[in-house]
Symmetry: C2
Subunit: 153 residues, 2 copies
Amino acid sequence: MMESPPSQPPRPARDVTQHVGYLLKRAQAALRSAMDKVLREHGLTVPQYATLELLALHPGMSNADLARATFVTRQSGNVVLRGLQEAGLITRPSTADHGRARPAHLTEEGHTRLAAVQAAVYAIEERMVGAIPPQRIAALLTDLDRIAGALEK
Amino acid sequence: MMESPPSQPPRPARDVTQHVGYLLKRAQAALRSAMDKVLREHGLTVPQYATLELLALHPGMSNADLARATFVTRQSGNVVLRGLQEAGLITRPSTADHGRARPAHLTEEGHTRLAAVQAAVYAIEERMVGAIPPQRIAALLTDLDRIAGALEK
DNA sequence: ATCTCGATGTCAGGACTTTGACATACGGGA
DNA sequence: TCCCGTATGTCAAAGTCCTGACATCGAGAT
């Protein structure tokens, strides 16, 4: 019940469910749900997967680096890293050579597990991209980036 | 450290941080953070605010309705509703007249508090919209809707 | 040399959310 | 009429994440 697709008003939507913020939340919730479902079959959480992907791209990132990049606090990032470390997917030196930052690196198994899930995750990305007119993709990426930039200020 | 804006590759981005999913996450994280900050000053959480907004638009929504609309579980929705009820912002009949659903309604104070925060929240929406070329807004909303639709299936 | 400041890692506690389960209530079909 | 599937509300337990706080480390200023 309570379903009333407000029959799209002209342009300046007054319905809250037509605001950019709400649509953004809805899309993100759907993405999160889809990724959770797929990653669970591989024994990974979304933050864990994101961390693996980032470490594959930028080996040696510290906990603080990863926390910023995955949009969680350092504390949560620490939990993620310990989980990955216990699972044997990453390694971190027990002592920091420079500051306090301890650079993380993927293990052999880390690379393997990442490769195993990438196909499934990228399929989700494909479903998203496939739902959008190709000529709009670039603009969409740009706009999302601008939204983030405008709010992060 | 570890900051290397990958100097935007031509178009088909291979960098994970250029994927639709990542940008979506980033924009949503920025929005959530901005809203948290503003709403905290008014003693409300994001789900609580969303619930008030929805109840203003559709009086009488049930807990299950609200949970779906705010993208949380019924259990979380229940917690939100009890919080709002204790704060005196909404009312719910103690007994259901039809099924088990107990329709929620804003109290006088609920309307007042909502009105008080709307200005601040809408200013955030304005910051987002303002960062995007006006002629692209409609397309952006459409694309976000399609992304959600493609994933919710 | 010393001090101050920012960044990092970590701990403790609490807040929020989810998973899983159960009981109740309506509605349609056998 | 009776049964079964769906929807709803709720409880208990666990997980996840965050806030607040503290100690350490490096770099630049004093």
